[in-house]
């Protein structure tokens, strides 16, 4: 008998990557790449129509909707396909956002083809598929919660990285400057630094915030 194949939807804004994924995945006899789309919006539309088992979703699209938002939109529906996030970078923020959005797995684009195929099968079976690097990262984060910034702290630090002053941040977030400073002090302690610029440097190095 021929088992029913795994039906795939590819979403990535790079034509070359789409072609590469197609080439790599179609060598697997039990995979069928049904469609590939260049935007997150198209992915949501197509996925809503049904007919897919697994969606391979990039996180960074050239603007507009984020991959994590698209992931949330897709997984929110009943009888939704599994979403495998496939991205180049591995910032903590991205990983958590994807997982919270309901992604079944998280892979890096430099993964070898076998790993990729294995992850797709794992995802199709409904099981969680995390790249080894990612898994390690999450373990680390669990083990040392001291390093983990709170939601609010991350928010503040991101604005610092964007070049805002404490005054500007306090206005943006409807806080007093005292609160902003307080958050920063906690951030410094967690990151082991003693200035805003080095906090940004440390956080970007650890992938806690977006560049």
């Amino acid at each position: 008998m021929t088992p029913s194949p795994v039906r795939l939807l590819l979403a990535d804004d790079h034509p070359v990557v789409r072609a590469g994924l197609r080439a790599v995945l179609e060598t697997e006899p039990d995979f069928e790449v049904v469609a590939d789309v260049p935007t997150a919006e198209r992915a949501v539309e197509l996925a809503a129509g049904g007919g897919f088992d697994v969606v391979l979703m990039d996180l960074q699209f050239g603007g507009r909707m984020l991959g994590s938002q698209a992931t949330a939109a897709i997984t929110a529906r009943p009888d939704a396909p599994r979403v495998l996030v496939l991205t180049t970078y591995d910032t903590d923020a991205d990983i958590l956002a994807a997982i919270e959005a309901g992604a079944t797995g998280y892979l890096l684009k430099d993964a070898p083809p076998e790993e990729l195929a294995a992850a797709v099968r794992t995802a199709a079976a409904g099981k969680s598929a995390l790249a080894p690097t990612i898994a390690l990262r999450l373990m680390d984060r669990m083990r040392t919660p001291a390093t983990a910034l709170s939601r609010r702290e991350t928010e503040v630090l991101q604005l610092v990285a964007d070049g805002l002053s404490n005054a500007a941040i306090s206005k943006r977030l409807f806080l007093s400057q005292a609160t902003v400073k307080s958050h920063l002090v906690h951030i410094y302690a967690k990151l082991g630094v003693d200035s805003r610029t080095s906090a940004v440097a440390a956080a970007t190095a650890q992938g806690l915030i977006r560049r």
Copy 2:
């Protein structure tokens, strides 16, 4: 008659991207993808052996040798193939490094297949092939030298981005703090900002420094 095809070497550490480039380029009848390699070192070795017209070279490899170094090594030899740099990011520093290393062209990975093929043909003919975005960038830089940071200024700003204080920077570069501050003032003026953190933000946004 059949014109002799353009013989290609692909260098990229992402298996998926290599497969994608192969898939995209092999649809062109006048292209022949002779080999693809996952490291810059292998690219230099193979290119040294001859037999290639154009090398498609990634800039970011997963460590060790940089694409720009490999580019320099390849173009340094007599009778070298043309090198087309193909990368995801477009920081000014990367672009200039690649061009100084002797790259014939510079493309972004999100380029559509037609653009890619056109660039390869242009490069094979020995002409310069720059992606529109990149060309614009260079024009901008030429037109407004005010925006261009001097070597020293870039050096200082990079250390600021790394989280160093003025005192630390002055020690690192064997300068007085006055000089560091002076550089910073010029940097602020050129970038149109008024603090170190926003200078870092602006510079990373414009790709003037590494993240």
